[in-house]
Amino acid sequence: MPETPAARVLADVEPRPGVPKPDPILVVDNVVRTFGGLRAVDVEHLEIQRGAITSLIGPNGAGKTTFFNLMTGFDRPDQGSWSFDGHDLSRVPAHQVANYGMVRTFQLTKALTRLTVIENMKLGATSQRGERFLPSLWPGVWRSQEREIEARADELLARFRMDHMRGELGGTLSGGQRKLLEMARALMVDPAMVMLDEPMAGVNPALTQSLLQHVKDLPGFGKTVLFVEHDMDVVMDISDWVVVMAQGRIISEGPPAAVAKDQAVIDAYLGADHGDESRFTPVSFEASAAAARRHDQEESA
């Protein structure tokens, strides 16, 4: 069990969908996203506790990644609003969301393959003076900022033990190293909240442990973490709080141990027990085997 400060604070929160938290950093209200007739996301109310590690789980197609896309401006909902750290982010486009202190990573890493590791890192910093055309012509304007950014990038690379790869091209990194790079790059803007989309997917087991440790360390640096993960052992190990989605809705939330025993969650993963179950039995094996033999005889006749 994670005995973190956040877990202790959340211990008194009632485990039910949409429950208010003592100090929410993200508050979501009535967010709906439909694709044709499918309600991919239909979240009535959700609060994410500041400084905690919250994991978002659910079976395939539950709407987790779509929810991430909505929160970070990569997709637009049909309706609904959400506020982050007191700012209404409902109309904020993706490239500005990071300025409010919310950054995300992707399930499939988006490291730039033909830039070096350190260049990838430096790209993560926002509001760089040299980004504008005129100032870019006078190095004096941006050189000092560039140095600060590089120092921060080097510091983060060291923390993630990637400093020895600083000059290598992004394209030469393994899948796991790209995940690390992406997480480190997300931290370049010094965000209040990091959203990680399946950070462990495709990472070899040796790296998983160190990646996990980096996620666990984030609250210590004052960060809130919201992540999507499929590996339940990972979820149970590092989460202070677990939110479960199924068919677009929040069906359960609570501390890991409570969620794992929630019948609604078990049903969501294994298929629900609903109504008339009597029709769902195997056909008689003897009968189907006999039918198969008849069919074979006809074939050879």
Binding site: N60, H230, M236, P256, A290, A291
Partner: protein
């Protein structure tokens, strides 16, 4: 009983060089049997099914049909030998009519169309009622019927179903499962991969639970359905540790 109809033995397979999705999986299918494959995301369920149909590179181990080696055999040869495969998504030709889709399933024996169409239409009356309609305009559940119907046109002895419930509402999922059950009753042996573990285990004779590319548990569907170890596999160790 003699050797089972279909056997996969110690199959190691994968898509990218050096990365194995399956590492030593086993599966047998007796004549007339309905076998279900379940497991958490990324367990290798669909890959195991594809390895039976030559759609993924089998790197070691073997697949045998009626005692003949069919490891890495091309799909068209397997269809001729009585194996049908229904992919999970994008499984109809949207610009063709229902009838044309079914014809595609029988391109090896076009002369038998009328007879086979009658058989398939008995299982799926909708397919004959709307035979001239383009498949692209059908709902998800209707497409699934077209895809199953098309695989049945060749009168296969083995039918491989990859998540027939994918993308369907719960009521339509139930419909698809009942169809699979009916098909099995006509003597077609079935291997079905499913995310809806409950339904899958309810209607199959035997279930295989995969985890990380390996066989985790195998047994009677009903027994597996009530096995806390299976729930634990889906929800992590805490779920199994009931007080």
């Amino acid at each position: 009983m003699s050797e089972p109809l279909l056997i996969a033995e110690d199959v190691t397979a994968g898509y990218l060089p050096g990365i194995d999705i399956l590492s030593g999986c086993n599966l047998t299918l007796a004549q007339g049997e309905f076998v279900g494959i379940i497991g958490p995301n990324g367990a290798g369920k669909s890959t195991l099914l594809k390895s039976l149909f030559g759609l993924v590179d089998v790197r070691s181990g073997s697949v045998r049909l009626r005692g003949h080696d069919i490891t890495n055999a091309p799909a068209n040869r397997l269809v001729a030998q009585g194996v049908g495969y229904v992919p999970q998504t994008n499984n109809v030709f949207p610009s063709l009519t229902i009838e044309e889709n079914l014809e595609m399933g029988l391109y090896l024996k076009p002369k038998e169309f009328r007879e086979r169409f009658t058989f398939v239409a008995e299982l799926f009356p909708l397919l004959s009622d709307r035979r001239r309609q383009r498949a692209g305009g059908l709902s998800g559940g209707e497409r699934q019927m077209v895809a199953m119907g098309r695989a049945l046109m060749m009168q296969p002895s083995v039918l491989l179903l990859d998540e027939p419930s994918a993308g369907l509402s719960p009521a339509l999922q139930d419909e698809a499962f009942l169809r699979a059950r009916e098909i099995n009753a006509t003597g077609v042996s079935i291997v079905m991969v499913e995310q809806n573990a409950r339904r899958c285990l309810q209607i199959c004779h035997r279930g295989y639970v995969l985890d990380q590319g390996r066989n985790a548990y195998t047994g009677n569907g009903q027994e597996l359905l009530h096995d806390p170890k299976v729930i634990e596999l889906y929800l992590g160790t805490l779920a199994g540790a009931q007080d």
